[in-house]
Assembly symmetry: C2
Homo-oligomer: 308 residues x 2
Amino acid sequence: MTKNEIKIFSPATVANVSCGYDVLGFCLDTIGDEMIVRKTEKKGIFITKIEGYKLPFEAKKNVAGVSALAMLADAQPNCGFEIEIYKKIKPGSGIGSSSASACGSVFAINELLGRPYNKTQVTDFAMKGEALASGSEHADNLAPGIFGGFTLVKSTSPLEVLQLPTPKDMYATIIHPQIEIKTSDARAILPKEFPLTDAITQWANVGSFVHALHTNDYDLLKRALHDVIVEPHRSRLIPHFAEVKSAALIHGALGAGISGAGPSIFTLSKGIENAKSVERAMRDVYSSTTIAFETYVSRINTGGIKIL
Amino acid sequence: MTKNEIKIFSPATVANVSCGYDVLGFCLDTIGDEMIVRKTEKKGIFITKIEGYKLPFEAKKNVAGVSALAMLADAQPNCGFEIEIYKKIKPGSGIGSSSASACGSVFAINELLGRPYNKTQVTDFAMKGEALASGSEHADNLAPGIFGGFTLVKSTSPLEVLQLPTPKDMYATIIHPQIEIKTSDARAILPKEFPLTDAITQWANVGSFVHALHTNDYDLLKRALHDVIVEPHRSRLIPHFAEVKSAALIHGALGAGISGAGPSIFTLSKGIENAKSVERAMRDVYSSTTIAFETYVSRINTGGIKIL
């Protein structure tokens, strides 16, 4: 018998991972939303509670609602679902806030329906919700949330997600300066065309990064974690980005870059001690400014969304 | 005691491999040059014999000579070397003819000197010779010749080569239409800038290709072997490219694309039977034209250059 109610943890995620703009991502586990989803006799999607941040209750205007409606339209179950959202990931932070909502609801509904859909299909429904937030269908935050670990979105149409190996002992540190970057600004600042030479550097790094994950080669990871395409432009929207990055690298981070569209900055480290030392170094940079910030240290979450 | 003379087989190679322009390459073993290199009392590099194709005897004007001179300038041995070149790979064929010469001489001299240099260093010297042929330092044909199998050139400055795994049972088929493409034309036809969306597709494919090699996933290899950057432009320089590619894919090739700068077209296959069937299909296309051609079927050569 399937359950009538489920409580889940939908983790924050980091997209792009320096070299892999629009395709690479990884999953965190010390920060994420909680959601409770339960079956209702009445058909439809009903968002009954939202705590943490102010978001629309109307299902069609809420990313968790939109992805849930997409799944319902396909599954045509003889019931509806109500959703409670305990939002912990601040919208606009760059660590997959909308994505956690979009995939949390469909993951939970899929469980309550007895898992009719595989992970790729669940991600596909979640893309409908993500599109409400970002204006286009992306999966680079959704895939790590649903699959866990490091993922590569090979294509979105049709959706194809590759699960990459996660080296043992790998940790991430995130610093989230509490500033707002408008998605429209983050996009407008990017050129539409790039020199072939830069693109070659980028795909050499993507290939090297994937090889490094497979061979557990931390030194190579370090040499691959560079972004010559997006970071030179978008980093201008994040105050003190260069100092934060430099502090992280000086303290032994494998790499540092913009998490998603920012403003959060992510780093990767070998071992939790290094991740904590990098956290302190990054905090020191923003502590000397007037900008409020939060930091998170997390192992790479290889399980993705989980049932609580 | 080290030997005074060595005979080697310096194989043909395929660069770019559809998705990995300028970074990916693999090594063949049914076609390649032979070279004999022997120590001389007189210091210097002396090209004493060239058979097969007409190439300059003057060391400074011959790619094998230039790479050898670069190694000598660094090694400062108390001797010189004479080189005999038995050229089997037609210059300008797109399967690494100059590269085979450039890396053959330095591989052989390194052996005769007792291997003072590692494979990356040998490749670095070979780049000097390759630069004479192509005008700039590239290693995407050199690396598979020296390392064997599939390689990824992460960067050329400093040179870093990654050896990728070769799936068992992988074969290549090459068709070489006997037409001339000028390197200057092959370059001029490429735009200097590309849309970000195409670059993203390309690096998703590079990452997928590397993952597929590590996981022995032939289906994924097939989906990753696409080139949205270079092939749409350069294929216009190769008559009947679209028909040849289409014939290869219809007959079960994993992928088909331009080998290096062309005009050769490469395909990859699972198993020799498929590679031979693809060879027949491609021959059929050119057989109905006035264009002369050669074909080669080869397993992927995981050993690279070898001593005969």
